[in-house]
Symmetry: C2
Subunit: 345 residues, 2 copies
Amino acid sequence: MKPLSITWKDGSLSILDQTLLPGSVVERQLDTVESVWDAIKTLKVRGAPAIGVCAAYGVVVGVHRRNPRSTQDVVQAVHDSADYLATSRPTAVNLFWALDRMRRVAHEANGASASDLIAALEAEAVTIHEEDRALCMAIGRHGSSLIGEGCGVLTHCNAGALATAEHGTALSIMYAAQAEGRRFRVYADETRPLLQGARLTAWELTQAGIDTTLICDNMAAQVMREGKIDLVVVGADRIAANGDTANKIGTYGVALLAKAHGIPFYVAAPYSTFDLSLATGEQIPIEERDSSEITHPFGAIVAPAEVKVYNPAFDVTPAALIHGFITEAGIVHPPFSAVSTTSGE
Amino acid sequence: MKPLSITWKDGSLSILDQTLLPGSVVERQLDTVESVWDAIKTLKVRGAPAIGVCAAYGVVVGVHRRNPRSTQDVVQAVHDSADYLATSRPTAVNLFWALDRMRRVAHEANGASASDLIAALEAEAVTIHEEDRALCMAIGRHGSSLIGEGCGVLTHCNAGALATAEHGTALSIMYAAQAEGRRFRVYADETRPLLQGARLTAWELTQAGIDTTLICDNMAAQVMREGKIDLVVVGADRIAANGDTANKIGTYGVALLAKAHGIPFYVAAPYSTFDLSLATGEQIPIEERDSSEITHPFGAIVAPAEVKVYNPAFDVTPAALIHGFITEAGIVHPPFSAVSTTSGE
């Protein structure tokens, strides 16, 4: 059974705190919009699709806490919550996409009672959640044939069950290949600074019984050179119309190394990660995070206090380095002029 | 004043414990050959040239502890100590080169008294030490013109004063460019798993007042893409006759990324790092180190217990990716048919 990053039960939102994995498996209830914002900001919940799902529920939580009396109060609470949650992280477009879906429900409220609108908002968040589960399953189905018997697959960061409602994007194709009975090896980049590859990908893949080897990011080139990698597949945080793809810092380097070794490089993502309002990746905002993530990893002090630090959380891989995009609608190629609307088929 | 990795004073060997930097600056006296072996094995002293210097003194320490009565006892103690120290680390050729120099002194002892031979051994170790200082100074002089005013330089691991007797190899050219009055920026890869870039390079460069920015290894491609890097320069652990170069894991990837961005990539090393007995880099033995370096960095547990780990300490960069080798004799190119004998000029 795969870990569930987000649970909605009886009108209450809880998440698996990913900052504590793999040492501790702790669920945290998020009963204020501020706690949802903090969970996203501090990466307790992370991964572009999961951020979208969590933010959608966050709007519902924000509305509930406001105890709105009128439909207008509900609409106001939706916009206040969405505006606030939108400031948590800038790069993953799924956040804004999910918040826009919630705003649209409020916008289309005409004449609904406050309680009906609240019910509709909750239903929309649940739909986004369930849709993501189905989208990820479909991504797995469409991409699994890329992983042949005995294949070596490299992935970066975590684009797994933990990064989504369930199943994952890049990791969904591994789970699907496993379900289809093929054996293969996965190499997981540890993914500094926050080690999502070591802490999350290695954890969920070993839990699932998939043969997984952890490496430091700077070992990827060597592993490729040794002939151990036949395929690279990663997730995405935002994909521009021309196919340029923002994903966890280091992805661009991996794509260049894959090219140098003649290894195909794929991006797996649902339609909610495509941002067709942006012509190219140059327009994607890149979050820069605190230097302490690099200088004080997990409590240790590993750098002199005086040193400058550069800590971009994402980079943009040019479309030319990407062999294909594994989506719920199949493997597609840019330019993208319309998002898939197969929505999990 | 640059830190001194190794000090020999009144017949006593001490080292700066590099595993504790930058948090603590601790000198350790090494008064048994076992403590010298351990210091090399556990990276208390590291960097190919420094390992060579330390091992040469280690032979002297081994001889002293044996309290040899006869010349033959001294010769035996030299071989026993050298055989033992040679098992500490396999990749850096400077270790074997320095031990061979000590053996040669013993071999040429004919007729010397035990005390004369011991004095000759100590003199040889001191010569290796002083020679390395001079070689590194000369490397700096020959390479410094590569760093122009306003230049951005990327380096990986630590090839600085700490990796040598003094001055460094790759970092020597930075110190020389600084002494010549030029301003430039250095980007230091943190260099997982043991973070020699963060802990050692960032420390010694900031101490020297050089503008230094620390990045995670997986950010190098992004920094290059942003146009911040004009030159990459690294050290080496062993260079084959055809120019293939073993250096800290991740170097090969950096060389590929530099090529993809049209950035010149240089290796800085003294003649003691060239191993002309090897035709190509394929014959260089690559040390694989304990998985805990990756899974338990600095006391934290960051990976599931069940995961496999691959932890090669070095990789080999093909000569074709290397623009030139900055040596004490100038910038040279393969194939190498004879080592430089300018020995620090």
